[in-house]
Symmetry: C2
Subunit: 395 residues, 2 copies
């Protein structure tokens, strides 16, 4: 068989199996279709709600058609945002120009939006999570399963806590995560991308057709333009999702200094190494493969380092050495935050407390540049250390 024939055949097999999966013939029908709610309606929240609603409409045996999206309602020229979304099927404020599925229902009432829900998808800014979770307490059955699209972790007195673990502890529901190289506007326009969904099957799993498993999550999130890989490693994708923002600051520094592509790639290499080391050290259950093989790992790192808020703030800092990170952030981001600035501080405080600062020279260098005015051009000397560290542990 010629190569082109084989390729055509392969394409047919793939598209055939994709059609099958979309019509759920390979999936056990749920004993009742799963009801899905997305909490959050920013540009990423609305985009994920669009993805999910497209899939629930295609899979009636598996999912309830209607998807609720909780919207913090606001007035748009005399109209409610929820009304606009429900009548004109467009989130004119946060995702203008993108047509939303008619089965996506904007709901201004948080508690009502999770009534009889089976799967909650959290997709709100990091800082709103505690308030939302506290409001949900007592209104969510323990059988409910959740996926968090929020990136990362928080450092508190207990140490490093994954946001998914926070949801589980506060609401008593199993919570996975979704993360990947996903700039929201590109996904919204249905440009091809990939993502990673991580979900640990809980001990009280009720069996195929009765509960959420990896096949259900693939059916819920996979689209022809949004390729989903489902894995177990919630910790791995959460750590990568948080720490990539610190690496992106480092990339922004060397770009702002005009050091070029070699230097930016070096920062990403060192950053990936420190992310893996951090994962191994504090979440030994996470898998090295997650970091270098998943969209939520190396691909998200690359996308984040190629642009976005953290890179922009860091570049501006390089060009205005007299301004503080805080001032640059205010001027540039108009009230939004560069998450890396918060994360590198939290990581520094945590590593200092457990006496591991020297093991993460890039993270520490970024912290010192942001908060202690250490000159940026010291970066190469500061991270030279890492190689020595890896060599010693390898021999």
């Amino acid at each position: 068989m010629a190569a082109s024939d084989r390729l055509n055949q392969t394409s047919e097999i793939i598209s055939h199996s994709m059609q099958q999966s979309e019509s759920t013939t390979s999936l056990a029908a749920a004993d009742h279709p799963f009801k899905v709610t997305v909490i959050g309606s920013g540009n990423w929240g609305t985009t994920i709600a669009k993805v999910v609603a497209e899939n629930t409409a295609l899979n009636p045996q598996l999912f309830a058609r209607r998807v609720d999206m909780w919207v913090f309602d606001e007035d748009i020229k005399g109209e409610k945002l929820t009304e606009i979304i429900n009548t004109r099927h467009e989130n004119v404020k946060y995702l203008p120009g993108i047509e939303l599925p008619e089965n996506l229902h904007a709901n201004p009432d948080l508690i009502d939006s999770v009534k009889d829900v089976d799967i909650i998808v959290f997709n709100i800014p990091h800082q709103f999570l505690p308030r939302i979770v506290q409001q949900l307490k007592g209104h969510v059955d323990r059988k409910v399963r959740a996926i968090s699209c929020l990136k990362g972790f928080e450092v508190g007195v207990k140490g490093v806590q994954l946001l998914s673990t926070y949801v589980t502890e506060e609401l008593g529901i199993e919570c996975g995560a979704l993360s990947g190289a996903n700039l929201a506007p590109e996904v919204a326009k249905e440009h091809w991308s990939e993502t990673t969904v991580a979900y640990h099957i809980p001990e009280d799993f009720r069996g195929e057709g009765h509960d959420v498993d990896h096949k259900v999550l693939k059916a819920l999130f996979h689209r022809p333009y949004f390729h989903v890989s489902v894995i177990e490693d919630v910790a791995g994708i959460s750590i990568a999702g948080a720490l990539k923002n610190v690496v992106a600051l480092g990339c922004g520094f060397v770009e702002g200094l005009g050091w070029g592509n070699n230097a930016a790639a070096a920062i990403q290499r060192v950053g990936l190494g420190e992310i893996i080391k951090f994962g191994k050290m504090f979440f030994p259950e996470s898998k090295v493969e997650t970091y270098y093989q998943e969209s939520a790992g190396v691909a998200d790192l690359i996308t984040t380092c190629s642009g976005g808020r953290n890179v922009r703030v860091a570049k501006a800092m390089a060009k205005n050495p007299d301004k503080s990170a805080e001032d640059v952030e205010k001027e540039l981001l108009n009230g939004q935050s560069a998450q890396g600035l918060i994360t590198c501080k939290e990581v520094h405080e945590w590593l200092e407390r457990c006496n591991h600062l020297d093991d993460f020279p890039l993270f520490e260098a970024v912290y010192q540049i942001v908060y202690n005015n250490v000159p940026m051009d010291k970066l190469p000397d500061m991270i030279e250390e890492l190689d020595l560290g890896l060599k010693e542990s390898a021999h």
Copy 2:
């Protein structure tokens, strides 16, 4: 101790140990200083010769001060290029504007340039290697050691052969490799970057001080602006160095189609996965860590996918679907070649012969797009396959 104090202390320790290493006090003095010759004088050849000559001047106990650089001589407005380099210390043709060390000696005579040499650094375009190696036959002692800065491998009747293996087989000398995220003009300007040197200590190793080892190679190539990691895995860095160019074509396609950063990152993720798979399958002695932890692995992939000839050709192909790859290459590169076009063909022929085409859907998709007019927008469907493959083998 406060974090900033610790950081300052760390910086002092590092710079102290770097000074030590530069004055070679931590290295056994060679029984005779090693004589080094660089073969090749393009922009990368001249840049590496500059690096090497700077280090030989700093390490007189270890290296002979004078470094010969073989130059294919040519007339530049009535003057010999070698004379210009030796009197004005500038390679006006291939690296204009960069001052070269006065101990770097341009030599137009290939055989004379390797007289009494201990270390040969090959840095010529891929296609000239066989001719050069044939000319050197009979003029190079078996005790000589070599490092190849050429990227990659060749596919012949014997299968996939590393270029370093070719040198070893033809000249009977041990040969390692140097590869990394190193766009030559940036290294020449002494912008900070990293690289990987891989060298396998041969069985006839003559002992520290009498022969080339990892410390000697670090002293030869490491500069404050050019950070070197020395490892054993010659196969790993060679494979990554060759296959990255195929991945860069894929990146160029999705960029040319206007699919954005998510898609480019996805191609790099899938590409890294296929590079690792190729390494495991055909060079089981190569190490997975090399691909995701070394500059020659993930960092070089990122740099190559962020620009360069392969990306440019592929983008132009996306924008001119009626033109062949060959025509685009001719118009765009002015006689130079996009190595990925050659490599993806060689890889296709090899994988077809050993019946492994289906294991490398990205490499195969790039081949089909370049040589069989398969439409580029089929890429996502074609590489969807990879995930399935990895999943199956993991479970």
